[in-house]
């Protein structure tokens, strides 16, 4: 059985079928991209996978466990992390605190053990130190050293995107959902991001689901691509197959007269 599998996923909002009977499978440690015009239901699929929307029909299996019906925080516990299209960081906290929140599910400190953090050898302090070390690797990996104590709301857009990626990585997910990670980045930043995504795939051994409009990036790094339009699957296959598909070309460029 596939590592991550979506079957017959459907959701409608007030009579409009935003996602209609979409199925796909992703193998472990592969990059799987979802492309489609604006409003075609890509982000809606992500929202259903991470539990923000409840699908009307269909199943989402991660390692033989159905995620449909679980709360978003339970889904996170199962190993699904994501970034958002419009960046949803904790603006009034530092980069470090944002990244540390990614460690939330791996930590145990509660009210009492937190309140009684007396000295270096208390439980809470030891746990903080251990997880801050892990975060430091992510900070090194994404080149965020100079920003670690800055407030997120003071950062430029491209850097915030990276912090959000770092926060998702900190959760050590099995499946990582990236919703337009390169939006708003310049060419240079996009090139870096491409390399980072490849590195994440190799170093962190995660399965990556990617929504992206930059076709160079999508065609360059994806193992497989799913193209959807108006909530329905057009085609799924390798980058080459998808590129040649006449329906994809029609959806993107308009039909030939």
């Amino acid at each position: 059985m596939a590592h991550f599998k979506v079957e017959n996923l459907s959701i409608s909002f007030g009579g409009i079928k935003a996602v209609n009977n979409v199925s796909f499978e992703v193998e472990e440690n592969k990059i799987f991209s979802i492309i489609g015009p604006n409003g075609s239901g890509k982000t809606t699929i992500f929202n259903m996978i991470s539990g923000i929307y409840k699908p009307n029909e269909g199943t989402i299996f991660l390692e033989n466990e159905n995620l449909v019906g679980m709360r978003p925080d339970t889904i996170a516990l199962r190993g699904v992390a994501r970034t958002f299209q419009n960046i949803q960081l904790f603006g009034n906290a530092t980069v470090m605190d944002n990244l540390m929140l990614g460690r939330h599910i791996h930590m145990k400190t509660g009210i009492l053990s937190g309140a009684f953090m007396w000295g270096r050898h208390s439980y809470a302090a030891k746990e903080e130190i251990r997880h801050r070390e892990i975060i430091e690797h992510i900070i090194d990996f994404l080149d965020l050293q100079s920003l670690r104590d800055l407030f997120v709301s003071s950062l430029p857009y491209g850097k915030r995107k990276l912090v959000e990626l770092g926060r998702a990585l900190a959760l050590q997910p099995k499946v990582l959902l990236l919703d337009e990670p390169s939006a708003g980045m310049n060419t240079e930043e996009k090139d870096d991001l491409r390399i980072w995504i490849k590195d994440i795939q190799e170093d962190y051994k995660v399965t990556i689901l990617l929504i992206e409009h930059d076709m160079n990036m999508v065609m360059g790094i994806s193992d497989r691509i799913l193209a959807i339009n108006q909530g329905m699957k057009i085609v799924e296959g390798t980058p080459k197959e998808v590129q040649r598909n006449p329906e994809v070309i029609a959806a993107y460029l308009g039909e030939e007269e």
Partner: protein
């Protein structure tokens, strides 16, 4: 120096030797304060510390978790009545009684936190407002609570009341030490909590609850937890307040009190423990003591007293108390939205970079 050598330095209480030194100086100063001050001022200090505890707790809910409460006077009342009644009827020592009462307050906080899962902003404000008013009226109607006439707090007994192990703490100065120790402990506990996992979860709910949930923060647990912790602080503050004033009735814990608590943390600075402390100090001082001192000012004092006598129904400067409070609140919110904490940060920056 800002050089950090290991991760512990990020979370430890005293980030540098200088801070440790000045904290020690401050603590010694606070412990020797009764020697230099007349006893009325000790009474005022006790009230201030009670409000500091409450403001720090309320700030956990409002400033860190981003929820609102217009009912904190209710938790404050549960703490005050609970502690006194438990000591009178169950004959428990003070420490046990106040912890028990604060836990009862925390339980009510948890209950009030449940609707907060679905309510936001103005709706949550109304729900908590309802709670505060209900508590006040239940206490007013119920004989066990002394009804409308209120009750007198029992002696502050560290041992078992009415037995050979009784040890009564009497007088403002001795009560001052009890409150000071509890305040220091609770402030440090709050600071530690906010620096670790639970505090970050609270802050994530405040800034973006959807992202928080997607990152694995259980909103049900952490929202109700925030209400419970905040109510616990209010309960402890209430328990101490009973012994400071000695006598209280249901109308001590009215809606205005809940609002004054919110004023304290807003003026002090939302989402900062230091801010809550400064706000509680300033607002309590303004409420209790400022106008007495103004009366003695040359020229201005006489002028204000004259205006008050001529145009206000009540004689004396009490008339100006709420006006002054209102003006200061408006001024701080307009000129320094981060509150007094913002001013503090700017002063710190100024001295760090001085003389540039």
């Amino acid at each position: 120096m800002d050089m950090k050598r290991d991760y512990y330095e990020d979370v430890k209480l005293f980030k540098s030797g200088t801070i440790l030194f000045w904290s020690a100086v401050l603590l010694i100063f606070l412990f020797t304060l009764p020697i230099y001050l007349p006893s009325y001022n000790i009474y005022l200090l006790n009230i201030i510390m009670v409000n500091v505890i409450l403001a720090v707790g309320l700030n956990i809910l409002v400033g860190y978790t981003g929820q609102i409460s217009l009912g904190h006077a209710g938790f404050f009342a549960i703490g005050a009545y609970g502690t006194s009644l438990i000591m009178m009827h169950l004959h428990l020592p003070f420490v046990a009684a106040i912890i028990l009462a604060a836990l009862i307050a925390a339980f009510f906080g948890f209950i009030i936190g449940l609707p907060a899962l679905r309510l936001e902003g103005p709706y949550l404000a109304i729900a908590t407002l309802g709670f505060g008013l209900t508590i006040m009226h239940i206490i007013g109607r119920w004989d066990v609570f002394g009804g409308r006439m209120g009750i007198t707090a029992p002696p502050l007994d560290m041992g078992i009341p009415g037995s050979a192990f009784s040890y009564v703490v009497q007088g403002d100065v001795k009560i001052y030490y009890v409150i000071l120790i509890i305040t220091v402990l609770l402030v440090i506990a709050a600071r530690n909590m906010m620096k670790t996992r639970v505090g970050r979860a609270f802050m994530s709910i405040r800034d973006d609850d959807i992202a928080a949930e997607v990152m694995g923060v259980n909103l049900t647990i952490y929202k109700t937890m925030s209400f419970a912790v905040s109510a616990f602080y209010a309960g402890v503050a209430g328990g101490l307040y009973g012994f400071v004033v000695g006598f209280f009735d249901p109308f001590t814990f009215n809606l205005i009190l809940s609002i004054i608590f919110l004023v304290m943390i807003t003026v002090g600075g939302l989402g900062s423990i230091m801010g809550a402390i400064m706000g509680a100090m300033l607002i309590t001082y303004l409420q209790y003591d400022l106008l007495k001192n103004v009366e003695n000012l040359p020229y201005l004092g006489g002028l204000l007293t004259m205006v008050s006598k001529k145009w206000f129904t009540m004689i004396g400067l009490a008339n100006f108390s709420s006006i002054a409070l209102g003006l200061i609140m408006i001024a701080i919110v307009i000129f320094e939205p981060l509150g007094m904490f913002g001013i503090w940060i700017r002063m710190k920056k100024y001295w760090k970079t001085w003389p540039f």
